[in-house]
Amino acid sequence: MAAVSKAISRVADARRRAQSAKAAFACLGVLLFAASAALARATGAGHPKQTPRSLSAPEQFVQIVRDNQLQAGALAPPTAPPEAATSQS
């Protein structure tokens, strides 16, 4: 009877060790994955190193364009009969 109970205890111990080993192995895997991802993000060419911003013209340029919306066209003395007419609509 004592021999049977000792054998069961050894099997339970072995199961506990196996579970611990599996858990440790899984944790190690997760840590390795996280470390690889972090390294890839920090060094890989395809990964942004900072918060992405939309592509747009610099604010100063936009402001200058905005301030110059009312620009003149070019006129000259007439040299031919009119092809069209401007009138109030």
Partner: protein, 285 residues
């Protein structure tokens, strides 16, 4: 240049010169689609949907958002002289239907006008919010924008004219109001005035050029103003600014290098210094 083609859209006659058949069809569709989106008189237009939802955030099409953005930029550039929030003021003055259908002598008095409030609009390209009770009117900027966009559809030299606003690619001679003509080398010519779209309310003359400060039809010493801009949108805005600023109009445009031609009610023509300089010295091209 191929023969000039004509069609009616946005309540005016559109002339196109230099377009192929395919380009002309694209231009016609462009004007008709803009009319469907921006007309105050087309039931179910996007403009009417936006106006009906004033006070709320509304999703808008890219075309609508772009036009409103442009109108707001012009309002900022002109210090609010040209304002897209004057739809209510136009309705108060009695402009409540297509001009052809408008009673020209309505015995009812005009309602009190609402001043412009363009700076209260929240707008992105996709979403806008207009203050409660405010009604947009984008007709001026939309017609001019359609002319500019239509010109981009031409593959070669040509011109597009809508209701008297002319934009060209390549030099052309353009007849001017009252008398004379000028060579438009590049850009556009637009004319604004109170002579054509005017009507009576309770015996008082009303017209569509609203003073944003009062919300009432503007009083101006000019009958009509013609301006030359690098685009039709710029020319149209400059002509309106020239008219609405009254006696200060010629100098205001000249300070910005914009040629302006001002016609008084008796037909007297005044040119600002920029216009005079342009027609006195030929431009080399």
């Amino acid at each position: 240049m191929s023969p000039v083609s004509r069609f009616d859209a946005m309540g005016c006659e559109v002339l196109v010169g230099g377009a192929t058949r395919v380009e002309l069809e694209a231009i016609e569709e462009l004007f008709r689609s803009r009319d469907r989106i921006f007309s105050r008189f087309v039931p179910g237009s996007e403009l009417n949907r936006v106006n009906a939802a004033s006070g709320e955030f509304v999703r808008v099409s890219e075309t609508f958002g772009r036009a409103l953005q442009r109108a707001l930029e012009l309002a900022a550039e002109t210090g609010g002289i040209v304002d897209p929030t004057l739809g209510g003021a136009l309705e108060s003055a009695g402009y409540i239907d297509d001009f052809e259908l408008l009673p020209l002598d309505d015995p009812r008095p005009p309602a009190a006008g609402s001043p412009g409030c363009w700076s209260s609009i929240f707008a992105t390209r996709a979403c806008i919010r207009v203050p409660a009770g405010v009604r947009l009117d984008l007709n001026g900027v939309v017609k001019a924008l359609a002319v500019d966009d239509a010109l981009e559809l031409l593959s070669g030299p040509g011109f597009v004219s809508a209701g008297g606003d002319v934009a060209t690619r390549g030099p052309m001679t353009v007849a001017l109001p009252e008398e004379g003509s000028v060579r438009l080398v590049s850009g556009a010519l637009a004319t604004s005035g109170r002579g054509k779209r005017r009507w009576l309310r309770d015996g008082r003359v009303q017209h569509h050029l609203i003073d944003a400060r009062t919300g009432l039809p503007a009083s101006s010493p000019w009958e009509q103003v013609t301006a030359c801009g690098n685009t039709c949108v710029a020319a149209d805005a400059a002509a309106k600014v020239g008219f609405l600023l009254g006696e200060d109009g010629p100098e205001h445009l000249a300070e910005r290098g914009i040629p302006g031609r001002f016609v008084e009610p008796d037909g007297t023509i005044a040119l600002n210094s920029a216009w005079q300089a342009a027609v006195e010295e030929p431009v080399c091209i």
